[in-house]
């Protein structure tokens, strides 16, 4: 049976009817793409002055925070939904952002720009459109990407999406007679409920279905609409995506879902077996996907004419900034001897080293977090800390070893690197401020974009506080603002055992909550001054 062809107009209507609640895509931010490229020996344009094109930009949820963060960079967003483009333009003008342009355009009709782009982003497009548009998408990457530029393309992939194809098929089948989006949603959720109810825990597949269903049932309607009820859905195998990229003279740089690492190895036994089966890196990666049940990829592509280093070299770390959420397990860290010291990461990982320079570097990074430090300053500080306890100045071999250790930490996900300095403040000033966009977002939704380009969900108090952080209020004024908000009924303070708190109790509650909330905002990289 021939698949029904879905026109761009149908896709536009679908997004106009139910706008996609898009979020900032952390690993599409140009600074990350620049970092991955530099670590593999490329020389891409610095994010701060780059030209960035986003295909399928929705209402600018990804591009607007970037445009605000990089005033000297240029951003172009393209989308086919009039309603979403209008929203994006409205916010850009409210924030007086002059470096971002939103175009209402079908990708197929998009006119090539005279100037190439350093970064091209396409989140949630490739698998959500029909073949001519997919073709155009990669053709645009080929034609519009600067020689050292990086393209970010996300897509649904198999085997992970295979089961969701079944869900999607049945949801569409059940909703085939429904007239309105609301009715379609309601009909299509019934099959999820059926699968949940008639679960047989003895069968491996039923267990998998339950695991996959749980998050699906929690998903807000809008996500379910665009992922499972969208007019088009074309998951691809990784190898097929790469074959498509190859036809457009594009090659693999990395996989953004893995961070900066080029590949995510399986257990050693499986890897050994895999290497014996095939030496083709694309086939190896495809087989890893089969074993992992990968459902989504965010693949980074560069021109085939660009030289990509197979490994990440320490030389490529030059000029980069390091940060790490690490804490010594048993402080103080022993910098005098080669005894092993352990550090734990925020994510629950653990790292151990006997090397004094590495210990000093991790100790320093932990103190700085969430702030980052340039590699030369990190090496310098580690050196002086070691010298301060009487060790001789380290030689070039020891410095190289420190860099090797830092690279290991990077591959292991213990430390993060970026090319530019922090876009946020790691201290709380007298009159703190957040970005204008954050204040605007906090007034409208629960989700606010951080200066590390994360979409963060905040509670009502934090959001009210964010709207007040314009750099003109000190602590006392902020407490006044929160009290005023509670008088307007926008914040509700309850006292233990009592229905209504007294005005004194309310003020006292905010006095106590304020420093904790500010600390939270700082940790989430919300503060800019």
């Amino acid at each position: 049976m021939a698949a029904q062809t879905v026109s761009s107009q149908m896709i536009a209507q679908s997004y106009d009817a139910v706008p996609y609640p898009g979020l900032a895509v952390t690993r599409s931010q140009p600074d990350f793409l620049e970092t991955v490229a530099r670590l593999r020996g490329l020389k891409p344009a610095p994010a701060a002055r780059a030209r960035v094109l986003e295909l399928g930009c929705a209402a600018g949820q990804n591009l607007l925070p970037l445009a605000e963060r990089y005033p000297e960079a240029t951003f172009v967003g393209v989308d086919v939904s009039p309603r979403q483009i209008q929203e994006a333009r409205t916010i850009a003008s409210e924030l007086s952002l002059n470096n971002v342009e939103f175009q209402l355009q079908d990708l197929v009709d998009l006119k090539p720009s005279e100037n190439k782009f350093d970064y091209i982003l396409a989140q949630g497009v490739y698998s959500w459109v029909e073949e001519p548009v997919r073709e155009r998408l990669l053709a645009l990457c080929r034609d519009q990407l600067a020689p050292q530029g990086v393209a970010f393309v996300s897509y649904k992939t198999y085997p992970g999406w295979r089961l969701h194809d079944v869900f999607r098929h049945m949801m569409q089948y059940d909703a085939r007679a429904a007239a309105t989006p609301a009715e379609r949603m309601q009909k299509s959720r019934q099959v999820l409920e059926l699968l949940k109810q008639c679960f047989d825990e003895k069968r491996a597949l039923d267990n998998l279905i339950q695991e996959e269903l749980a998050p699906l049932a929690q998903l807000p309607d809008a996500y379910l609409w665009h992922d499972h009820l969208a007019p088009a859905s074309h998951p691809v195998l990784f190898k097929d995506f790469m074959a498509h990229a190859d036809r457009h003279q594009l090659q693999l740089l990395g996989e953004a879902t893995l961070g900066v690492r080029p590949i995510d190895m399986l257990d050693p036994e499986t890897e050994q077996h895999l290497a014996a089966l095939t030496s083709d890196p694309i086939q190896q990666e495809q087989f890893r996907d089969i074993i992992r049940n990968r459902a989504i990829r965010q693949t980074l592509l560069v021109h085939q004419t660009t030289k990509v280093s197979a490994t990440m070299e320490t030389a490529f770390l030059a000029g980069m900034h390091f940060s790490a959420a690490v804490k010594p397990e048993n402080p103080p860290v022993d910098l005098r001897s080669d005894g092993v010291s352990h550090f734990t990461t925020l994510a629950g990982g653990r790292i151990s080293t006997p090397v004094v320079l590495a210990k000093a570097a991790l100790q320093y990074l932990g103190e700085l977090w969430p702030a980052s430090v340039a590699i030369d300053d990190l090496v310098g500080e580690a050196t002086s800390r070691v010298q301060a306890v009487g060790a001789p100045p380290p030689g070039p071999a020891e410095i190289q070893r420190l860099q090797d250790n830092l690279m290991q930490c990077l591959v292991g996900g213990v430390v993060q690197v970026s090319c530019g300095p922090d876009a946020y403040l790691a201290t709380i000033s007298e009159k703190p401020s957040v970005s204008s966009l954050a204040r605007l977002q906090a007034g409208r939704s629960e989700i606010v974009t951080s200066r590390r380009h994360h979409a963060v969900r905040f509670d009502a108090l934090d959001r009210m506080l964010i709207t007040l952080l314009d750099g003109t209020h000190n602590s006392a004024a902020l407490v006044d603002g929160l009290v005023a908000a509670s008088q307007r009924g926008q914040l509700i303070v309850s006292a233990p055992g009592q229905q209504v708190a007294t005005p004194e109790q309310i003020r006292q509650a905010f006095v106590e909550a304020l420093p904790i909330a500010l600390e939270r905002l700082k940790t989430h990289a919300m503060l800019v001054a």
Partner: protein
């Protein structure tokens, strides 16, 4: 298609194992048609067409089974058609026609058919050929005729299809079948082990799926996994294809899968609210079962089907079943709830004395089938009540209702014809020519229920002589000769014995055992 293109068929390289398929027998199809209100042509005087008849593994036993019916087989692999022709002439079958032809160019030249069987073809051919198959069925069916079409379905293939693609990529076309199979197996073993090491539900599933493919013989793997066109579809899509070809959904060869009640009260309740019709209900059941295969029956759109099952419609049918009572001391006359179970684990609990008596009778007599009147008479006798003729109508209807329930839950088999075998051992027992020929060359023989039976050496040796002319003494003589030739060994105190009275005594037991085994496996025709 040119003649040379026909002979360049992948099936010519590795023959696909051709097997009898009991569910395609015309008398089984007729019974299902009858159940849903049709009046299908009699299976013992009908015309049957098989599309994709391969080496005749399914068609030839059917032809032997129904000598007054006419059987036509079509296949596009020359080597297979020739093998089928040789076998048909060896068996002296005069009611079989075999054609080396392409379905595309077949047209209406073959005439009309009461039963059309198309097994293992639909999922492996192009959209165009799929349409052609359904068109051919539409044009060739007689008014009350029934077609059987099997195909792979989603979601059962959801992971296997991808493994298939990986196997294909890892051993692309061009290499020999043997080397492709070896590489494919190596890859599956890798996935099975790697999946197990993941320690996730998905990893477990990957392991199970890879292992389930590895279990198959090479011939099956080659065709199922290296054939160029295997595209599972959803049940509702197949029904849409059939409707587009002006055909109607009759039911499934595995009738019990049509009923939501077999999936538990919860699912039944849920499906009632969700599904507006039978197609939708069955589609959702496929999802719950992760069904990967269907054997769908189609009929012409003019046929008026009756989905509500009524007792009077099954009174012309024959019933059989291996349904063991779970309580060895059960009293059929009491109104105690008793449970019966099939070998595959389908169970039914009932307090009804009539049904309990019927199920006990069927189980004891398995594989024998009983007509409705026979069953009714036997039940009344077992319950020591009035004779069948004097039974009140409500008893008759009650048994009918109960049997319908058993059919719907998959507990009993139904047939439009009496058994083509006997479970009695006569003075000069006889087996079919086909079974005798098969027993000469191997241990796998086709019985009169169109099933494959795996025989031990002694039963094989007995079977080959069952031409209806040998009495017990001459069968013993043949067995003795087999011992002398060293084909059958008789151990006495752990040492092979060759002659003497003690050997004769042992051989008598061996013969009794073998005949009993052949009888209970539906291999005796007289």
């Amino acid at each position: 298609m040119s003649a040379s293109a026909i002979t360049l068929n992948p099936y010519d390289e590795v023959p696909f194992p051709s097997q009898p398929l009991p569910q395609t027998l015309p008398d089984r199809l007729a019974a299902i048609g009858t159940l849903f209100g049709m009046t299908p042509p009699p299976a013992d005087r009908c015309r049957v067409l098989e599309l994709g008849s391969a080496t005749g593994g399914n068609l030839l036993p059917m032809a032997e089974h129904f000598p007054d019916s006419h059987f036509v087989g079509v296949d596009y692999a020359r080597a297979q058609v020739q093998a089928a022709e040789r076998a048909a002439s060896l068996l002296g079958l005069r009611n079989v026609e075999l054609h080396h032809a392409d379905i595309n160019t077949l047209g209406d030249s073959l005439g009309k058919f009461d039963y059309i069987v198309c097994h293992g073809v639909y999922s492996w051919v192009s959209d165009d050929l799929q349409r052609k198959i359904l068109e051919l069925i539409q044009h060739s069916l007689t008014p009350q005729g029934i077609a059987y079409v099997s195909y792979n379905t989603n979601p059962g293939w959801y992971l296997r299809l991808m493994l298939r693609e990986m196997m294909f990529d890892y051993a692309p076309a061009g290499a020999t079948a043997v080397s492709r199979l070896a590489r494919g197996r190596a890859l599956l073993e890798f996935f099975a082990k790697a999946g197990e090491r993941q320690k996730t539900s998905y990893g477990e599933l990957l392991k199970l799926e890879a292992e389930s493919i590895l279990k198959h013989p090479d011939g099956y793997i080659y065709h199922e996994y290296y054939e160029s066109d295997n595209r599972p579809l959803y049940f509702h899509e197949f029904v849409e294809h059939a409707q587009a070809a002006n055909l109607q959904y009759l039911g499934e060869a595995a009738v019990a899968t049509m009923f939501a009640s077999n999936f538990g009260a919860k699912a039944e309740e849920h499906l009632k609210g969700l599904c507006p019709d039978l197609i939708s209900t069955e589609q959702h059941l496929d999802i719950l079962r992760t069904r990967g295969f269907r054997q769908t029956l189609l009929c012409l759109p003019q046929v008026l089907l009756r989905r509500h099952l009524l007792p009077e419609r099954i009174e012309s049918l024959y019933f059989s079943g291996r349904v063991a009572p779970q309580n060895p001391n059960l009293d059929v006359k009491s109104r105690e709830l008793e449970t019966f179970k099939t070998a595959s684990g389908i169970g039914l609990s009932t307090p009804a004395p009539g049904l309990k008596a019927a199920l006990c009778l069927l189980n004891d007599a398995w594989p024998r089938a009983f007509s409705f009147p026979e069953l009714l008479a036997a039940v009344s006798e077992r319950l020591q009540g009035p004779s069948a003729a004097e039974l009140p109508a409500s008893v008759r209807e009650g048994l009918g209702q109960n049997l319908i329930q058993c059919i719907a839950s998959g507990l009993l088999e139904i047939n439009s014809r009496p058994d083509a075998f006997t479970t009695e051992i006569s003075d000069r027992p006889q087996a079919s020519r086909l079974a005798r020929a098969e027993a000469r060359s191997g241990s796998r023989v086709t019985n009169r229920r169109n099933e494959i039976v795996e025989l031990d050496q002694a039963s094989r040796n007995v079977l080959v002589y069952l031409d209806g002319n040998q009495d017990r003494a001459s069968l013993l003589g043949e067995l003795m000769a087999a011992v002398d030739r060293g084909e059958v060994s008789i151990l006495k105190d752990g040492i092979p014995a060759t002659s003497g009275d003690s050997v004769r005594t042992t051989l008598e037991t061996t013969l009794d055992d073998a005949l009993a085994k052949l009888a209970s496996n539906a291999l005796l025709v007289a």
